[in-house]
Symmetry: C2
Subunit: 468 residues, 2 copies
């Protein structure tokens, strides 16, 4: 217990919700922040969430909501200020219902993304959101951060896959809006306001999610491309052919393959020497062979000089192997240890120029190695910097801030975003203040004050608390 | 000029923006409301919009923003209270830019939806939003009301097709957020808050819009189905076959065909005697014949008893004829003259039961004729009531309110919405207060007060002004 207020607070909570404050509630994957907690509470129901929120409001104690804890921008850990209550959704994991004939599933917020995907799968449906961390990430956290992942190109981000939410607002009231409707134009879009607010406006406790019928024919290929420009032309060619059938289009830089070979040598690499490659997945209608479609695409792309080599997966197992490779790039990065990571997006026509110019500018300033990879179809790159071979990240402590500023300035100058899919959290509060549109920021602050006048919801995330 | 304040207000506006107050600025398509205006202003630029908003804020004069004026719920006309300034976007019609290689277009808010579609088309792209009123409806109004239309099944509503906005807030500040990005998780979703707010939180002046590559093979068919249940099974079958390739799936009731035959006999009807029929459009990949795909679907559907007759369009002209029929149902309805119109949505599995039960309940209460049609794939029906043959709508004046209440109560009891795509406007303020979730309504009111403390933005729309 960090301060006496917590004793009174603890006594006012629903019975049986308190959990021991263990390190697992205080960490985040990149180890940049160490959280703190006066109390940890794990409610079993929406009513208990509401009771906890009311108690925290009365006690003026901040609430940090925690799902799977996989966020990459420190939204789930509060290092500074008075110790908060950590509200863990680990016990709210029920599947409330599934309506395959409607393509709808209603999940509690603590359900993992993998569990949601499995439930959909069990009913012959697909919940398309897909992230490397899906075994741990909670669906509530995916919504609170508007997670993106590898299928956003076709199916959109978490926002596009949510039909309705149940949420507890900062005054303890509960928004009941778990409609199973595709269209509902009845007032302001409170759902989308909660989605992406990173727990600063309320707590999403359940969601009505959109499922799809899985495409009958799925094909996967890894293709070597001359560069990012050719990759984008290849994407345009594929989209022209496939009528919306391109599910994923991932760019993989040669540095990422080298890191994989170094840290995870057991992972098979179909094109180990490619400077740039692309992982494409297509999902096509009944009666259309994905092999034939991909072969047709490859032939045309080869003729146009857009690809120089390629492998079409000949089995589901081989396709899974390609994805296994792609999804382990973040793990290889962790093992190497990044100097700085950037989750950026750019207008598609600015990407090739950015990669070229940023590479030149960084080389002039530092010996960092660049691992550039990500969701090219969305214009979303992970542009991460690593120590030169033989050096370690600590040696770059004095460069980190400058290098990141340089990268972000180049992104913003090209009309891009300094946070494409990870969110703002605590890591990018200053970036948002620096580059966010002033009128939009003022509107955000007005909304924060209106809905959370006591400032108890995830204090210090997204907006700085002093002005929040 | 309706009150002296307007003289001072007029003098404070940018030069040359005033227009004569003509009836065209004061009407709405269904003739339920007659608007009023102290002044009409038609700004040429976002700066002029901001100046007008500042002047109105100073003078405490309400602003009713007007695009094409095609809204069906009275959001564009203010009948009661102090006369507002009508802000017409008719002079802000520029295409600010188009980036076909990025699938992005930036349009000013006064551009008609048709003009946006034409611009996309001219660059080999498709802007998928499609409404019967698209020749007149402004894109700003489509966004302000989150318009739906016939392609929402595949491409989503206006919200899903907007990447960013420029908007003037009630204090005259301008949100500059016309990013050409697919992913941008940098704070609260102010864009989606403005979308669907019907001009009550600010004025959208321009938007960055998502284009798509047109599907290479488009097929269209009209199919007679035994009933709504069979139609939904047909949709599920088609979605299973087509891997997201179903672009539109429209239900047409026999009463609608009869109204067309009566009021617009020149329109060719391929299945004139169908009690229920469906208009389906598919958009398929390269190398896949839409004829073959539709024939395969029809054969299987016929075997399962899901369709009883059908015509596959053999030419673009014939397909256009099917759409011409569908799009003239609202015009036929206008000529007959509705007693009451309902723009409802339901969970898909509730639709058939609702249509059956509502028909029985209405027949027990009245002799109205029901024309039920709409976007079945979205669960969105237009469930409109018309006078019995030989009677006229005025004879139903004393029934209208009760019948609508009965319909809406049955919809809400099944988890549906009383406004699927038209919005709340002024027509459904009481319905929103009655059936809206209380916590969500309270959040809406808090946001309205925070962003528009003077209450000058479209007063009386969406939220009642007394509590707004």
């Amino acid at each position: 217990m960090l301060n006496p207020a917590d004793d009174r607070l603890a006594a006012s909570l629903p019975e049986g919700v308190l959990r021991p404050v263990t390190p697992a509630y205080l960490d985040e994957p990149r180890g940049r922040y160490r959280g703190q907690a006066g109390l940890v509470a794990a409610p079993r129901s929406t009513d208990e969430v509401a009771a906890i929120v009311c108690a925290c409001a009365d006690a003026r104690v901040g609430i940090v909501t925690r799902g799977g804890g996989t966020g990459l921008v420190g939204g789930q850990v509060m290092s500074d200020g008075p110790a908060p209550l950590v509200l863990s959704l680990e016990r709210m994991t029920a599947l409330r219902g599934i309506w395959p004939e409607e393509n709808v599933l209603v999940a509690e917020a603590g359900m993992t993304l993998q569990a949601v995907r499995d439930a959909a799968n069990g009913a012959g449906r697909l919940f398309p959101l897909s992230l490397a961390s899906q075994g741990t990430a909670a669906i509530g956290g995916c919504l609170a951060t508007n997670a993106g992942g590898v299928t956003a190109l076709r199916y959109g981000t978490a926002r596009a896959l949510c039909l309705g939410i149940e949420a507890v607002l900062p005054d303890g009231s509960v928004v009941h809006d778990l409609k199973r409707l595709r269209k509902d134009n009845t007032g302001y879009d409170i759902r989308d306001l909660m989605i992406g607010a990173e727990g600063t406006l309320g707590i999403i406790t359940a969601a009505s999610l959109k499922l799809v019928v899985p495409p009958p024919n799925v094909g996967t290929a890894m293709l070597e491309v001359p560069g990012p420009d050719a990759a984008l032309s290849l994407l345009a060619l594929a989209e022209g052919h496939m009528a919306g059938g391109v599910t994923a289009f991932e760019l993989i830089g040669g540095q990422g393959l080298a890191f994989l070979a170094e840290t995870l040598p057991e992972i098979r690499q179909p094109l180990p020497n490619s400077q740039w490659s692309v992982l494409i997945e297509v999902g096509l209608p009944e009666g259309m062979s994905s092999d034939t479609a991909l072969e047709g695409l490859l032939t045309e792309a080869m003729e146009r000089g857009l690809i120089t080599d390629g492998v079409i997966a000949q089995s589901g197992q081989q396709a899974a192997g390609f994805w296994h490779l792609r999804e382990h790039i973040p793990e290889a990065n962790r093992r190497i240890g990044a100097v700085a990571s950037h989750d950026i997006s750019l207008p598609l026509s600015e990407i090739a120029g950015f990669i070229r110019d940023a590479g030149v500018a960084l080389a002039a300033r530092s010996d960092v190695r660049i691992n550039c990879f990500g969701h090219l179809g969305d214009g979303n790159l992970h542009f991460n910097l690593f120590p030169a071979g033989g050096r370690n990240r600590a040696e770059y402590d004095d460069q980190r801030k400058d290098l990141s500023l340089m990268v972000h300035e180049m992104v913003v100058a090209r009309g891009g975003s300094f946070s494409a899919e990870h969110g703002v959290g605590r890591l990018k509060v200053a970036e948002l203040e620096r580059w966010g549109d002033p009128a939009r920021l003022a509107a955000m602050r007005a909304i924060k004050s209106a809905l959370d006048p006591l400032g108890i919801m995830n204090p210090g995330a997204v907006l700085s608390p002093a002005r929040g």
